[in-house]
Subunit: 333 residues, 2 copies
């Protein structure tokens, strides 16, 4: 295993220190317990938004802290949920009196620890609402999950809920729009290689040189099928079919099409996938009116990608377009 | 070799089609010859800016086409210079009457083909100026280069020259600021693995499981030394020392610190490198006043990173901060 790290046990703390050094205009960092918080938090009267989960998926979640998106991100150890402690501390730090929304990817550990933190925050008179993200259509239950996994769609939930909070929506409304985005989002991924967790030092699973895993999770959890490598267009078709059947998306829909890299796949390949996915949607009469392409929800250095489709309406489009200023996603003013 | 592609010979054309499908608000694409051009080009009275080079370094250059940066990007085959033909066509497409700046990474093929295109454009009465980027301090001459190579600093030249053109500077002034950025920028990189060129189908070079290459080029060209893997902090020190000696940077300087991923390195590692680089600069009394972290100048799926330091002054800082709207870099209005 070759990695640009020092001691595997310091990976998260050192990376977070790097984020603090790189983005002092956007965030400040708490080291004990570890969380990343928007520089001007709390914003009085604004709903606070906290997300988090195991590290190794960067820029998720720390790269999305800033104006118009998250108020705080709580990174756990690599591929391991943060404990309730830092989640509670982050929740307190971002509470501006209008309550706090927790956006939680659906993994058993994350759900449990965010729930405990929400209970503890409640005991301190902070109104906490929780939205669980479970956009992955690949498998019904998985290695670390009862029910569907939360994967790349999490970025869309965080962006749109963040915009709703920024414009002054109350906690009920912000939770409702986050719930709606999750309900209208579907994702599925593919892996060509396995990630290497620093303290483990070897690939999380074996994948032969001529095989790929369809329906992979973002921790390398098993998907639907292990198949021989196919041309990119055939792989896109395999990922899109279950996505489009599941909602279902229909002719006339407006969607956001998001092609996400898992960390180790060159951008040129992501655009090849995007091209085919846009073609398939056009053939079905679905209009791609918003797009996102890049490495946003990764699995360390895993080679692979995922496709996410979000069914838009006027409200979601307006919130998607709203200004955002974070390390990994920014536009407008 | 596993890649998310169809036929290796269609990689660039299909990726460019993906860029066109993903970013219709920013760019349009010419397929014969292939180049990517800002949607509203040419802008009458504005200096046009064209860059380009072999593909496989995305988001360089196509991801930087848009308001406040490039007017056109010309992608050659993977790791191979574009011919003069598409460079000329792009130059004509962006000429708004105020002349065109070519920003060229210092590789023999690129320099020659851009020069030929500039001559042909001159014959059509387009005033073309050329700035060669050669920010890599690793080696004096290299596999494809007489003199220093152009690497990650290219992004900084493109951003700042783009801002100068956008505010209405004339061709002399835009060329002068691009020349100044290049003169004040130094970079050096490290590789942990080799990239795999699609049509070759195997790694560009062999790098044993416990070794890294210090001073690597962005096509995997040899660097200064092949050494055993070291902790990240030691590697940063090895990359920064020649950078800081070369300009030389001095106590009291304001700099932009840019940690660039080569494509296959997780973002968490880039922030670990950033943390150490910022520490070293602080120890030397150098103030990091602007930052950039991420995969901007890549070498396909190569694992590795580079560090770039740009000595700032008020003018360069103002131009860096100016609004930019491209696929890979955007902020402001």
């Amino acid at each position: 295993m070759k990695k640009l790290i020092n001691d595997p046990k310091n990976v998260v703390a050192e990376a977070v220190a790097g984020i603090a050094a790189a983005h002092p205009d956007l965030v400040t960092v708490s080291y004990d317990p570890i969380f990343i918080v928007r520089k001007d938090a709390p914003t009085p009267g604004k709903v606070g938004i906290v997300s988090g989960g195991g590290s190794g998926h960067e820029p998720l979640h720390g790269g999305f802290v800033g104006s118009g998106m998250l108020d705080a991100a709580v990174p756990g150890p690599v591929f391991t949920s943060p404990t309730p402690d830092p989640i509670l501390a982050a929740t307190i730090a971002v509470n501006g009196g209008a309550g706090v929304l927790h956006i939680v990817k659906n993994y058993t550990g994350d759900v449990l620890n965010f729930e405990t933190a929400a209970d503890l925050a409640g005991a301190e008179d902070i109104d906490v609402r929780t939205v669980i993200v479970d956009d992955d259509v690949a498998v019904k239950d998985s290695l670390y999950t009862a029910g569907r996994r939360g994967v790349a769609g999490t970025v869309l939930v965080e962006k749109i809920a963040g915009a709703a909070a920024e414009r002054g929506d109350d906690l009920d409304a912000v939770a409702a729009v986050a719930t709606k985005v999750n309900a209208q989002t579907r994702s599925m991924g593919v892996a060509l290689t396995a990630p290497v967790v620093p303290h483990a030092g070897e690939p999380s699973f074996d994948l032969p040189e001529d095989e790929i895993e369809i329906g992979i999770g973002i921790h390398g959890e098993p998907g639907r099928a292990r198949i021989k490598l196919e041309p990119a267009d055939a792989i896109v078709d395999r990922l899109l079919a279950p996505i489009l059947e599941d909602l279902p998306f229909a002719s006339g829909d407006q969607v956001l099409l998001f092609v996400n890299g898992m960390g180790g796949t060159p951008q040129v390949e992501l655009y090849i996938l995007f091209r085919r996915a846009a073609e398939v949607l056009a053939e079905k009469g679905i209009t791609v009116s918003r797009t996102l392409v890049g490495n946003f929800v990764t699995s360390l250095e895993m080679q692979g990608a995922s496709i996410t489709v979000l069914k838009l309406d006027d409200e979601l489009t307006e919130l998607w377009d709203a200004p955002v200023q974070t390390a990994a996603l920014r536009w407008g003013r």
